[in-house]
């Protein structure tokens, strides 16, 4: 039994060691297959339920009490607006924080305290951020009064801004920003830490400032990994329903957003509501909406992977 494997230089190759090796391989394979199996079962059942409801009208009409007439236009546009705004807000702030902590700040009690908090915040359930969002952004702590106490522009103008923000696209984006910031910061820090010290030292030795070193050497080297963190964060933001519900996001709305103060709804909220309805027709359009959400996620991830492949150059 143990005759066939040993090669030159191999120490005592007992059949036990080889069997253990094989068993480990089988266990890993089984774990992988199980995950794939569960995922494909889920996808197939959603495809079966939702495929027939997926057509152009479904993407291009508003909600309805009749499942065959209902569509996700409001939710789709709402999700895109919210996630795009959230990304614009969260990415610079997240990478900025990571750069400060890794490249500028001296290790002190304060930075360790900040670090500890960021790590802990990534474990806070998102509904808690929803409550913060309701108080801080929807109502601005009640400092300015209720509905539209102060505003610039009219509701039709693209730069319309009002205080307090109310349950608007901006409120949702700011709240989701809080949800995803810890993810972006921690991932960016890991990425910066993985850049070899010799690169920075080389740059500094040539007389570059800290900023020049970061901008020309460290960040480009770290960017593929940072981007992975950003993808994870956006994927999380697009799937959140609970904080949106808490900040007062609408479910039924017959308009798409036109500015940051617009009322909105998002896909997860629409899916959650349809899946809980008594009529079977709503369950199949919920499945169709899930398919749209999955495609949206794939598009985001695909774009990010493409950008990453272009950025990824071997370290020189």
């Amino acid at each position: 039994m143990n005759q066939r494997v040993p090669s030159k230089g191999t120490p005592i190759a007992s059949w036990r060691r080889l069997a253990a090796n094989r068993m480990f391989l089988v266990a890993c394979l089984a774990a992988t297959l199980l995950a794939v199996l569960v995922l494909s079962a889920l996808l197939i059942s959603i495809l079966v339920d939702g495929w027939s409801s997926l057509h152009w009208d479904f993407l291009n009409s508003f909600a309805s009490r009749k499942p065959e007439k209902a569509g996700i236009k409001a939710a789709l546009f709402g999700s895109l607006w919210v996630v795009a705004t959230c990304t614009v807000l969260a990415v610079p702030m997240g990478i900025g924080t990571a750069l400060y902590l890794e490249e500028f700040a001296k290790k002190s009690r304060l930075t360790r305290f900040i670090q500890l908090n960021i790590t802990n915040l990534s474990g806070v359930p998102s509904i808690v951020y929803g409550i913060i969002g309701l108080t801080a952004f929807t109502r601005l702590f009640g400092m300015i009064g209720a509905n539209d106490a102060w505003s610039i522009g009219s509701e039709e103008s693209f730069f319309y801004l009002r205080l307090p923000f109310g349950p608007s696209v901006l409120t949702a984006a700011l709240t989701l920003m809080l949800v995803v910031l810890p993810v972006v910061i921690v991932a960016s820090q890991e990425a910066l830490r993985a850049v070899p010290k010799s690169l920075r030292e080389g740059s500094l030795a040539m007389g570059a400032t800290t900023w020049q070193t970061i901008w020309r050497t460290t960040l480009p080297a770290a960017s593929p990994t940072i981007l992975t963190g950003v993808i994870l964060a956006i994927s999380r933001a697009i799937g959140e329903a609970a904080p949106i519900l808490v900040i007062g996001g609408a479910l039924l709305i017959f308009q798409t957003p036109t500015n940051l103060m617009s009322d909105f709804t998002v896909l997860p909220l629409q899916i959650f509501n349809w899946a809980g309805r008594p009529q079977a027709g709503f369950h199949s359009i919920a499945a169709a909406a899930i398919l749209v959400q999955l495609v949206l996620l794939l598009i985001f991830n695909g774009t990010a992977v493409a950008i990453r492949l272009r950025l990824q150059k071997p370290l020189q």
């Binding site: 009490r65 519900l245 609408a250 479910l251 809980g276 008594p278 369950h283």
Partner: protein
């Protein structure tokens, strides 16, 4: 019956269309902000959908923060209308008083609670409130069906219930075991009524309760338990014979918003179509007399609730008596 309903709704519909063509040339604009119960949501959704066919420029938004959450926003003056699956509480009225919000209370339809058992359950198809109390409460709990009746199987009763902080649960608990009663802790609880239906239809010895819409959609999978000999149907719920398990649903309108033309038009439309549209989405309409009372309250702008006295005590008479 069906034909008559269709015909009457057609007539009402065409009347409305002609009315809007001749009388209301002006198009309304502006927001109608609504938030509250997810149980009331399908009715408000249906009303909003039809309303926007006649007034496409009005911006109706409906949220689902739940009855409590909806009242919080309503009492802070953030919304024009609150959807509610129960009357406003004295504590919520206190807040409204401090913020200076006055409101008009408008009941709009019934939601009947259905107690469902498995299709194969041939014994427990007619139960009394006392039976239900023994099944669902901690007091003298019936662990097996045999505990209730010696002729029934000696199998444990599997209990399915909506989430204990939902309006449906609150209402059921108060009817079956009173304010002080305690529900047993070994129930299978789910916030998703579809999951309750699945649970009951999958276990021969199960029992559960949920909104009647969930039973009407699953009559092939479940048997509805008669309560004191009365089965839950649209008729028994409407005429009150299925009491006490038919609960009224409400909308509350901020009296200041009620003078906004778009809000006023929306509520007018709501009351005119509540009967047809609520039935269409799985709820049960009131008898015409109650709608008459409600419409009267609306046109007169009757402020406050009819379920709490001035000194903050709940009035315990049943809903149909209050609106008789």
């Amino acid at each position: 019956m069906k034909l008559a309903q269709v015909a009457s709704s057609l007539i009402v519909g065409s009347l409305f269309v002609s009315a809007s063509v001749f009388a209301q040339k002006s198009e309304l604009k502006g927001p109608v902000r609504i938030d509250g119960s997810s149980t009331v949501f399908p009715i408000t959704e249906a009303v909003a959908e039809e309303f926007l066919r006649t007034q496409p420029k009005v911006n109706v938004t409906v949220g689902v923060s739940g009855t409590g959450g909806g009242f919080k926003r309503f009492c802070a003056g953030e919304t024009d209308i609150a959807n509610a699956s129960r009357p406003i509480k004295p504590s919520e009225m206190e807040i409204a008083k401090t913020t200076g919000i006055e409101f008009i209370e408008l009941p709009i339809a019934y939601d009947g609670l259905t107690i469902g058992v498995n299709k194969e359950n041939t014994w427990a198809t007619d139960l009394t409130i006392a039976d239900l109390k023994r099944i669902f409460s901690t007091e003298n709990t019936a662990k097996t069906w045999k505990d209730l009746n010696a002729a029934w199987p000696a199998q444990p009763i599997l209990v399915y219930s909506p989430g204990t902080d939902s309006g449906t649960f609150d209402y059921f608990k108060e009817v079956v075991m009173g304010k002080e009663g305690k529900a047993r802790s070994d129930m299978s609880v789910s916030e998703d009524d579809n999951a309750l239906v699945m649970g009951v239809s999958g276990n021969k010895y199960a029992i559960g309760f949920f909104g009647c819409a969930y039973y009407f959609e699953n009559t092939d999978k479940l048997t509805a338990v008669k309560v004191n000999g009365i089965a839950p149907t649209a008729n028994t719920i409407e005429d009150g014979s299925y009491a006490p398990f038919s609960r009224p649903l409400f909308v509350y309108v901020n009296s200041k918003s009620a003078s906004n033309p778009q809000v006023k038009a929306f509520v007018d439309f709501y009351l005119a179509n509540a009967a047809t549209l609520s039935a269409e989405v799985g709820y049960v309409k009131f008898p015409a007399a109650i709608y008459g009372k409600v419409a009267n309250n609306w046109t007169k702008g009757r402020l406050g609730t009819q379920f709490t006295t001035a000194d903050g005590k709940s009035i315990s008479t049943s809903f149909s008596k209050t609106y008789e």
